[in-house]
């Protein structure tokens, strides 16, 4: 039973299902939520799902983190470092945009007392 769970195939399947569920929860969130903070959180959920998806699919059974130490002298049998680097970058970018969005939201709330994005319609035809 445990061996079944320890196969790359199973892990990947679980990761795909889990991350995609999370992704489409976020998808549902941005489609239905009108509160700015909730919308931003939904986006964050989607992003996180993508991170999980990407990192998870690059794990294979038997591979270790790409760091050498006293026991491990060569860079073999290690997971791909590029997805990790990319995700690190994406996380920081996501954080930056989210923080900026929140600051816009705060300032807008101070001016108007609203945070419902469907009611932001002073700019319209």
């Amino acid at each position: 039973m445990l061996e079944f769970f320890n196969s790359t195939q199973t892990i990947h399947t679980i990761i795909i299902i889990g991350s995609m569920c999370l992704f489409f929860i976020g998808f549902y969130g941005i489609a239905t939520q009108k509160n700015l903070v909730k919308v931003l959180v939904s986006f964050d959920i989607m992003e996180s799902a993508l991170f999980l998806f990407f990192i998870g699919l690059h794990y294979q059974v038997g591979l270790v983190a790409p760091i050498v130490d006293s026991n491990l002298k060569t860079f073999t049998n290690m997971v791909d470092p590029v997805p990790q680097a990319m995700i690190l970058t994406t996380i920081v970018i996501g954080l930056a945009v989210l923080a900026l969005g929140l600051s816009f939201g705060i300032e807008y709330y101070k001016l108007t007392g609203r945070n419902d994005i469907s009611k932001m319609n002073e700019l319209r035809d």
């Binding site: 998808f27 941005i30 489609a31 009108k34 994005i117 469907s118 932001m120 319609n121 002073e122 700019l123 319209r124 035809d125």
Partner: protein
């Protein structure tokens, strides 16, 4: 300012004269485009026509204080027209065409009577004309792989039939719009009447001729009358195509003539008359015979002269009195006698009465219709020619005859000499064109050769040949002058015995004595009786404005409909993007 631009206007004439028909310039614009200027007989005819008109109008403009930008734009306009008529390829032609459009637009916008609606009308029709032109140009390009007139002309034969028809329709639509063929004339009346008074003369006399030039260029030069004959077949002595075009032209001239009679504004009457006269030209231009082309060409010249004369005359009167309606004018004959004589000469030409050039040109056109045996067309042309007497009479009566309608008119002085000089020149030209039709045939024969049509014979300068016999303009005019002098003598004799200087209230009707505010001038109501005639009533009641206004309304409705999508709800925008993604996903991936 005026003198500078007068000299500047002389420059292109000298330039053109210098080259003596040997002008051939080409400037590479990009790898694909070259601007080329070629002086053909057809082109130089129109070039001189437009340049001299500009010169005359500039003389008249001396009487007005106009800004630098006005003159500069007008000069640009004249250069643009020069580019059109001298163009050797469609890119040059189109560039000239568009510069003509926007420079005239900016001049028209300087008028005090102008409103946004009329300006919009003018520019949209002009642009529609230009866009239909460019559509034709690029379609022709796709077959000829060149914008050059000669190359397109050479490859025209090998194009598929539907493309040929499409090209003819697109080009014709474009030039018909400029010439104001009925249905596409919606902009003409408004623009002519609201433009600056002197500029109306250029609009009517020169700019509409660019449409005529375009038609000549397409039918005669690029497609060729011979090719038209092959494409559409012949009918009697003309072509099928010419017959259809003739009906369009005749309909234009009949409808516009009746519309002209019922106008109250002087310049609107002239505008409709302009449409009607151009209708004649359109009617004969497609005949594909020498007489047809010659008639169209002759009438182009005469119409330019007459319309310049009449518009300058009216502009002078409007400037002098500040009034531009028949119901407000009247009785100016004693106050502005020279203007009166000029207008009289103008309307004699306009009505096509002998002995002036107007008759010669009309004669040539009727002659063409006889030659091709298009009897119905001839009848239509004669009918509208006869009807045009009415508006000619209204023009002279409404302004100069009858009684002055207000006190201020009684103290009107003769108009400024700057208005009179060009009028006198034009009147002389009108007389000369009537007296020496042979000279004109001499000018036209190279053009006929260019269109590979047979030339027309002429006998000295005074006589031209036609299908129904020779036309001796010099004899006719001499006879008329003699008779005219005799009658003048007679009148003078009678008049010297008659009681002079009647008071305008020296009448009474139905036992009532008119008071100071009773209108004794019937210029206002002139033409209302025409509504009783069923046929005329049907023409006068209908208008293309309905169609265009409903088109505008439709556009606005569509715009409102589309604009409802952009109602600023970012939430829904997001949903739409997601739905669009989903739709494409299900369609594309599965």
């Amino acid at each position: 300012m005026n003198s500078i631009f007068l000299l500047l206007n002389l420059l292109p004439i000298l330039f053109l004269y210098q080259f003596e028909g040997a002008l051939h310039v080409s400037l590479p614009l990009t790898n694909e485009f070259t601007l080329s200027l070629i002086q053909t007989p057809l082109g130089s005819f129109f070039a001189y026509l437009s340049l001299i008109s500009f010169l005359l109008v500039t003389i008249a403009q001396k009487s007005k204080k106009l800004s630098f930008s006005y003159y500069a734009l007008q000069f640009l306009l004249s250069l643009a027209m020069l580019a059109i008529v001298l163009a050797g390829d469609f890119i040059t032609f189109f560039i000239g065409w568009e510069i003509m459009t926007w420079s005239s637009y900016f001049i028209i916008s300087k008028s005090n009577n102008m409103n946004i609606k009329s300006l919009q009308k003018y520019i949209l029709f002009s642009l529609a004309s230009a866009f239909s032109l460019i559509a034709g140009i690029v379609i022709a390009y796709s077959f000829a792989n060149s914008f050059d007139f000669v190359a397109i002309s050479n490859s025209f034969e090998s194009m598929p039939f539907n493309i040929k028809v499409a090209l003819i329709v697109l080009f014709s639509l474009s030039f018909f719009t400029k010439a104001g063929v009925i249905g596409l004339h919606y902009w003409v009346v408004d623009t002519y009447s609201k433009a600056p008074d002197l500029f109306s003369s250029i609009l009517s006399a020169v700019m509409s001729k660019m449409g005529i030039y375009g038609l000549f260029l397409i039918y005669g030069n690029i497609i060729g009358y011979h090719e038209l004959k092959i494409m559409f077949g012949t009918m009697l002595n003309g072509t099928d195509f010419g017959y259809v075009l003739a009906w369009i032209g005749v309909a234009t001239s009949i409808i516009a003539t009746f519309k002209a009679i019922t106008q109250d504004e002087v310049k609107k009457l002239l505008a409709y008359s302009s449409i009607a006269q151009l209708g004649y030209i359109v009617a004969v231009i497609g005949f594909g015979t020498s007489y047809g082309v010659a008639g169209a060409m002759y009438h182009t010249l005469i119409h330019t002269i007459i319309k310049l004369l009449l518009f300058i005359n009216v502009a002078a009167i409007v400037a002098q009195t500040g009034k531009n309606k028949f119901s407000e004018l009247g009785g100016l004959i004693y106050r502005t006698p020279v203007s009166f004589v000029m207008l009289l000469i103008g309307i004699i030409g306009l009505a096509g009465m002998p002995p002036l050039g107007g008759f010669a040109s009309k004669f040539m056109m009727y002659n063409a219709a006889i030659d091709t045996k298009f009897a119905l067309i001839l009848i239509g042309m004669l009918f509208s020619g006869a009807a045009s007497f009415l508006y000619c009479y209204k023009l002279v009566y409404g302004i100069y005859l009858g009684h002055p309608t207000s006190k201020s008119l009684e103290s009107t002085k003769e108009v400024s000499i700057h208005y009179l000089i060009p009028q006198i020149i034009l009147a002389l030209l009108l007389v000369l064109t009537g007296a020496f039709p042979g000279a004109f045939i001499k000018v036209i024969n190279p053009i006929l050769k260019e269109f590979s049509l047979s030339t027309i014979g002429y006998d000295g300068l005074g006589v031209m040949q036609s299908a129904v016999g020779n036309f001796n303009g010099f004899f006719i005019i001499s006879a008329f002058v003699v008779i005219f002098l005799l009658i003048l003598l007679l009148i003078w004799r009678i008049k010297s015995k008659a009681k002079n200087n009647l008071n305008r209230f020296d009448i009474s009707y139905c036992g009532e004595v008119p008071t100071a505010d009773t209108s004794l001038h019937y210029g206002y109501g002139f033409g209302t009786e025409l509504y009783r005639i069923k046929f005329v009533n049907a023409i006068l009641k209908r208008s293309s404005s309905h169609f265009y206004e409903s088109l505008a309304t439709q556009t606005k409705k569509t715009s409102e409909l589309f604009s409802r999508m952009y109602y600023g709800n970012i939430h829904n925008t997001m949903i739409i993007i997601l739905l669009f993604f989903s739709a494409l996903f299900f369609l594309g991936v599965n």
